[in-house]
Symmetry: C2
Subunit: 260 residues, 2 copies
Amino acid sequence: MIQRVASAAVLLPLVLLSIFYLPQSLFLLLVDVFLGLAVFELLRLLNNSGLGTYWLTLPLTLLLPWIWSFDPGKVLPYLVSSGLLCMSLSLLHKRELHLGFLRSSGNFMVLFFLGVPLSIAAELQNNRPLELAFILFVIWTADTGAYLVGKKWGRHKVTPRLSPNKSLEGYVSGLLLSALAALLFGLYFFPDWSTVHLGFVGIFLGTLGATGDLFESMIKRGANLKDSSQLIPGHGGVMDRIDSLLFALPAYYLFSLLIK
Amino acid sequence: MIQRVASAAVLLPLVLLSIFYLPQSLFLLLVDVFLGLAVFELLRLLNNSGLGTYWLTLPLTLLLPWIWSFDPGKVLPYLVSSGLLCMSLSLLHKRELHLGFLRSSGNFMVLFFLGVPLSIAAELQNNRPLELAFILFVIWTADTGAYLVGKKWGRHKVTPRLSPNKSLEGYVSGLLLSALAALLFGLYFFPDWSTVHLGFVGIFLGTLGATGDLFESMIKRGANLKDSSQLIPGHGGVMDRIDSLLFALPAYYLFSLLIK
C-alpha cells in the first residue's frame, strides 16, 4: 500500500509535466516506451494463454502513434496492411493449424487494443492537452476510489469469474467518483461545459474505465497470472496501470468526434 | 467438373454486367448479399474451430461497405468502435474465459478479412470499374489455370499441411497465367500501362490470390471442413469462390494508393 502511494506520488507529477510541457515528438517517444512495455506484457499473457505471437506485432504497434500524429490519412491503409501481414504470417506456422486465424486476429487486435488508445493519447496531448489531463484525472480518481472503498466496505461480489476482488460497492463508488471528479475538474477548467454534460461524461468515462479494467482481468485470468508484470512497485505492470484508459480514451475520442 | 463450368458460365456474365451497369447502391446491395453469405460461412467455420461468435459481427460487417462508399472519413472511427464493441461483448461470456481476447479478436477480424475487401470492390466498381474487372479477370484466370494444370500435371506437393491438393506445378502455372492475363487485358484496356508494369501487377495479384486461397484453406482445415458451404454447385461456398480476392483486392488498392 505504501509502495502504491509512493509510486503514484512519483509518477503523477511526471505525467502532468509531460502532458503540458513535452513537445510532440518527445511525448510520442514517451508513449512508445509505455506502449512497447504494454505490448510486451500483453504478448506474454497471450502466449501463456496458448496463442502464438509474432515479433512483428511490436514494431507494427509502435509505429501507429507516429502515423496517427503525422499522417492521419494513412492510418486506415496502415491498419489494412498490418491486417494482411498478420494473416499472411499465420501461414508460416507449422503446428496448430486450427489456431491460424485466431493467431493472426489476436496479434492484429493488439494494434487496436493498445496502439489506438495510445495514439489517441498522443493526439490529444498535441491538440487538446487539457482534455487528456481531464480523462486521466477522472479515470485515476475513480480507480483509486473504487479500490479503497472496495477494500474497506466491499461485500457483494459482482464479477467473481472475471475479477474476484471487485465488489458492487467498489463499482458504484467508482462511478460516483467519476462524476464528482469530472464536475470538479470541469468547474475550474471547462467553464462552458454544462453540469449535466460534465456529470454524463464522468459516468461515461467511469463505465468505460471499469470495462477496460475487466477486459484486462479477463486476459490475465485466461493466462493464469495476477499482474501483467511487476514493473511498477505496488501497481503490477504497465498494462495494469493503463487498462482503464484502453476503452475510455478511444470512446471519449469517438464521442467527441460525434458531438463536434 | 461440368457443374463447375456451368456455374461459372452463368455467374461470369452476371458479374461483368453488374460491374459495368449497376448503379452504386444496387451494387452495394449485391456486395452485401455475397458478404452476408461469406460472413455466415466464416462464422460457422470459426464456430467449428471452437471459437464463440457474435451475431453482431454480421451487421457490423454488412454496414462497412456503405460507410466506406458514402462517408469514407468515418471508416476509421467505425472500425475503432466495432473493435471496442467486440471486446466488450467478450465480457458477457460465462465460460471459456481464456478465449475471451481471441473471441473478440476473431470476430473483429471478420471485418478486416471479409468486410474491407468487399468494401474496396464496391469503391472500385463506382470509381474504377475497369480495374475491378481487371483484378477479377487476372485472379480467376490464374485460379482456373492453376486448378486445371495442377489436376493434370501436379506432382510436387508444396503445402501438404495447409492444402494437400495444391502442387508446385499448379502454383507456377497460376503465376505465369496471372502475368499473361494481366498483359492481355492491359494491352486492350490500359494502353498507357507499360508491359513491365502489367507483368509485375499480374504476378503481384497472382501471389496474393494464392495467399488468400491458402489462408482460407487453413481456416477450413482448422474447422475440419472441405468446403465453406455447398451453395454454388461445383464451387463449394461463397468464401471458396472469393478467397483469392480477399488478399488481392486490398493489396492492389493499397498499392494503387502508394504509387498515386
